[in-house]
Symmetry: C2
Subunit: 278 residues, 2 copies
């Protein structure tokens, strides 16, 4: 008889592009609470990326409760030692939703990834828990995490770097504040160097919600941009210093709310009105 | 026996993305003077787009002479009546190079396009004269000219508009200050609405030099981004107000200096080192 885990569907993953509405319509956070269980939701807030730990937890506590969550509690490892503390790891055991705040994604990955706490986030996702992150908290969700970097539409050698994220989403790299901070160039650079990764750029107040591990649905005000370098010609292997890169033949998908995209087949499932477009 | 015109090759067209170096290396303007005849060059400067007419002519006069041009003279219609003045039109007759400054491209198109002066620019190009424009002066070179608009990587309905340019370059729309002003979104919007047009975004201090009417060579510091919407699915025909647009499956080419791209076949000819890349 299989263990319960092996029969479970992985939970939805909310990669939020930062600056999601916390008052007013709150489309993105409201959907997160709903998927985490609505009035049954028990949400753990992980503020590790942020330098404003208690303050940011208090904000999400207020917002998630206003949106109907039953319980909200911090789960706040500040060091790699904390992230191995069984009591802290245990705070995730009952959660139906885990939310990673913004801040510095390298703080988050270096404190949490590959620790019992990080493993508990991954295990929770696998057993069906809804996991979301905004800004830095979105970047860390993918296996390959963008870190540092500069803006600009033109891809240039060395304009950004990769580190290892939590890996809830595989074979992709998530970037955030995408349109607002002009991050086309760095995403093109990443997929030119690593065409096996799909670049996923999420606008502010917008979420890429991934279900069944591969179906990306767009939610919120802006768009999600998917950049596919698998057919591109590039000199990314040989370009020197910070030269502009040749990236010829990349495929781009700009997906507004309601669009569904298959990360495995790298193709549009349907557009914002639920139908194929021409 | 054919008229001399019909045997002539059209001259090179320099679409410059604005902010080209006027001191120091001056790669772009130096190439323009060279193609216009070097020490035999007679360059007409058209400052119509600019509100700083005499001042901007004086700057280009200084720079073009420093780069070795034999003669530099203004050709400055300020109104549509001016643009029909035979004496003013005549100033273009001896030019081996015509240079359109930056400013407001709608001023340039509305004063010049479809007048004897505008027709003389087109005729000069067809008989082999080198025609260049920077910023607004680059936009007006194409048949379909981008005008107004907002920045952002995400395409949104109505984020920019088209007007009729001079038409030296056909079947494309040229945008400028491309990376610096984050103009991916508006170029994607344009090619989603008009996939017969190729979107050409030129970075600052960079030129798209088009020879033989269809071969685009990149010159200068940044890159030229070509956006091809011919295979894209889009809801551009039906999206409301300023909604983010679905544009799924557009092809993007980011081309650094030295790259050559064929505007007719919409394919890379070779990369920056003169060879095909992988």
């Amino acid at each position: 008889m299989p263990a319960p885990e092996s029969r479970a569907e992985p939970g939805p993953v909310f990669a939020i592009g930062g600056a999601e509405e916390k008052v007013g319509r709150r489309t993105v956070l409201s959907a997160f609470v709903e998927r985490a269980g609505g009035d049954q939701a028990r949400i753990a807030v992980v503020p590790t990326a942020s330098s404003l730990g208690a303050e940011i937890v208090a904000v999400y506590d207020t917002v998630f409760r206003a949106l109907g969550a039953a319980e909200v509690a911090p789960a706040a490892p500040a060091t790699r030692a904390d992230a191995q503390d069984p009591a802290l790891v245990e705070t995730l055991a009952k959660a139906t939703g885990i939310f990673l705040t913004g801040g510095n994604q390298l703080t988050l990955s270096s404190v949490v990834a590959g620790t019992p706490f990080g493993d508990a986030v991954v295990a929770a996702h696998r057993r069906g828990v809804t996991v979301g992150g905004t800004s830095a908290g979105a970047s860390v969700l993918s296996s390959h995490m963008v870190a540092f970097g500069v803006g600009g539409a033109t891809p240039k050698q060395r304009m950004t770097q990769l580190a290892a994220g939590l890996g809830l989403l595989d074979r992709c790299v998530i970037d955030q504040h995408f349109s607002q901070r002009n991050r086309y160039g760095r995403l093109l650079m990443l997929v030119a160097q690593s065409p096996s990764l799909l670049g996923v750029g999420v606008d502010e107040n917008t979420a890429a919600v991934v279900t069944e591990g591969h179906l990306l649905t767009v939610l919120g005000r802006g768009a999600v941009t998917v950049v596919d370098g698998s057919a591109a010609q590039s000199n990314a292997a040989t370009a020197k210093r910070s030269e502009p890169l040749l990236v010829s033949g990349a495929t781009v998908h700009s997906l507004p709310a309601g669009s569904v995209f298959d990360l495995t087949t790298r193709a549009l499932v349907h557009g914002p009105d639920g139908k194929d477009q021409t």
